[in-house]
Symmetry: D3
Subunit: 178 residues, 6 copies
């Protein structure tokens, strides 16, 4: 149901259509989780339309977290430019196996495969900067907390009580946070 943007007449295409500027600028990490993702997806870089790739810059302040999330339409590879970064991903049912690794400058890590929940955490005293690439022009991102506890309209608390084995107060508290 979701169409592509209308394409530009090929004759009017110019080199600027393939250009995005500003990925050297640190994202603002003064927020609750201490991290910021700067996407270069098809919305930001028109030339990515019809291609299966995109990029992003990830900034994480000391001890900040890029919360558990998944990309429904992409696998991700990233390399650390600065800092010390813990990365992890969890496989699907029934194992829910947690693969976890500490990355240093120059390390490249692939979050395998598509659609798994993964996260990143700065475990050092300096900023982390990482460059990620993803296998879709429009990979999407589902932040687990936002989707489960911050959906609009809210998911019925009875669903979440059962699913997370929490009482109604705890669920209401979580829903108030997102």
């Amino acid at each position: 149901m979701l169409g592509n943007s209308v394409c530009k007449d090929p004759k009017l295409v110019e080199a600027n259509d393939f250009l995005f500027s500003g990925l050297h600028i640190a994202g603002n990490t003064t927020n609750a989780v201490g991290s910021r993702v700067t996407p270069v997806f098809a919305s930001q870089l028109r030339g990515l339309n019809t291609l299966g790739i995109s990029m992003a810059r990830v900034d994480i302040a000391p001890w900040g977290v890029n919360s558990p999330h998944s990309h429904p339409r992409a696998t991700e590879i990233c390399t650390v430019l600065e800092g010390t970064l813990e990365v992890g991903f969890i496989t699907s049912n029934p194992e829910n196996r947690h693969f976890c690794k500490v990355l240093h400058k120059g390390d490249v890590f692939v979050f395998l495969p598509i659609g798994l929940i993964h996260y990143q955490r700065n475990i050092g005293y300096n900023n982390v900067v990482a460059i990620a690439a993803l296998t879709s022009k429009n990979p999407g991102a589902i932040t687990i907390g936002n989707a489960v506890f911050g959906a609009t309209p809210e998911i019925a608390s009875e669903v979440l009580i059962k699913a997370f084995q929490l009482d109604k107060n705890a669920i209401n508290y979580l829903q108030s946070k997102f």
Copy 2:
């Protein structure tokens, strides 16, 4: 990194390779969430190898829940054979829009698109039986609670504290539940 099962010599294939029996048998729902999924994936039905489809039966006891989960490699369509079923899915960032619908016998619903978090809840006083089909021989299933709070080994509580804005006690409680 994950290879297919070794294929059977085509000359030895027989009609039974395309058959799975027992989908008329109700799944046991006497568990914490009151639901059970009976999969007919490539592991259960060898003939599905190389095909992009599979089936499942979903049983949900009155007021039970098929917890929020995603299928990293499939879209799902389902039809209700018995009972009254609330279904919902949540779109990705930044909207996290929650689409929700009550289904009755004979209703068909598609959980669109691939990789989104969705759930099902029996909102009636009788059992729900639904038949689902998925666009992969091996769709995978990530139950959010299990992956986030029940991973092995556990995700560091510091990650979850930041991500879910909970204190360490609440996170420890959640991890003990999964």
Copy 3:
């Protein structure tokens, strides 16, 4: 040459776009072959657009037949809800091997692979009800008899005389039936 339907503006999408109702209603089988397929394809369920899946309900009266046919764009998996169903498919040249199986309630069968000719027959004294899923939003169906003997305009009888090794009267008779 065949375009998709124009897509709906994502902002205007609502949960009803993902819903089809009525698959619990038995199809009318009072026809020459004693069977009826109720499709839930993209034409019936708008939300299937861009997805690789669809569903159908198959009703077959006692001793009725779902005539030999193929789906040019899909593989099919089905499960029997009621009755006793003979299913079969035939592999391509040169073997033309016929795989055949009697299915009972709860059996799941996959018609492998894409594009093969297959059929279903009710071999019991009660109605058969089956739910099928197909690997395309728009799988298509080619009923062999209709395509070969009932095309509009007709295929030249000289082609069919050679192909089926029948005389002109027999071909004319067949063409009059479809």
Copy 4:
């Protein structure tokens, strides 16, 4: 369930692996339908493995027929080198529309789209030679008559009686021919 041939070690590959010889040799058309297809599929040309293409030569004697058939895994394009060739294809249900065209030397025709039933007939007094290309290394071919009336083991005559609205004698006659 059907695996590829085991691949050759890339270091041992040589130019001959990409070569098939003999497509200039006319196929033997002294058979019931007066036609012969010479395939250059992956079985004949090892280098086609993993590629989505193949070729074939079609010879049809005067008034001969390449019987109605479908390719479950390919679309076909062909060009006429010699002779006058009627080609036709029939769309799927419910229209069963018959597209038909007389081709002359140098004409190129595409049998659109994948999986449809199509045929070719020599409508002249000289041999027809055509070169076809198909969108699969292993397109498969289902000759309708062979699959329906010549399957091994036979399809139950009751299925064919209903499907083709013929009596048992006519079906038995057809089954004896294939």
Copy 5:
């Protein structure tokens, strides 16, 4: 960024939409390289839209050359109708291995795999005629000489001096030729 042609209303489609005429006419080879390709791509044959195939006729005068080129979106298979044809392709870095073969009438050769540089040369005293098929409706063709030395606007000579280890005069000479 490059959209398909707008599709024709399916109801208005006619058999002529699947037809191209004239592939029996020899291409004009009185040019600097002594060869001519006559494409039957989606631009020439509307019915190829959405399909993964196209055809071409290749004419090469005695000792003429179909210059080194690549097809960015297709693999090619070809068969020789007349003449003696040397064909070759070169694998990618670091081997740059050159596979080369002399083809005669009736030989079929596959230029494997997608995107490699390949060429054809008539090494006989008669015209070569070949029919090629390609795995895209719109395979594209990059003639290396034209792209490198004949681009508009020109590639800076400093790039080419370094890349081809030639002096400025030689580069300017090459650029003047294309």
Copy 6:
């Protein structure tokens, strides 16, 4: 014909299989073209197997060149970490249009689409460092000069004389360089 590496047993997979180290180390650019590409493809990072993505670091000394090349199986996106980089790509026949752009730190550029010839040149007095991502685990790289003039065995000089409109001495000179 080219198989994947044999896959690792999923149960033996560990986080190190998803890790490559050392991308922060500058490549050695003391060579004829003044540039070096450090690939992180499936050969370097086993975890990329079955995924459609890879990474590379590009180092270019002042005034050095990453020679015109193509990736037969990938589109490329890159971002500049340091320096001033001219990038260009050339479209296919018949336009051979040259898109060219000067990139600065933080710029992201996509070389669109798959298989086109492109190049990079350092046009500043400092080193260029760029991170590229490609839409294949094994994108391949065809350096035009190497493939055309440095193939093993050599392409017949008669082919290159015609194709590049050079005399035999010039071609021999070029072949001696690669």
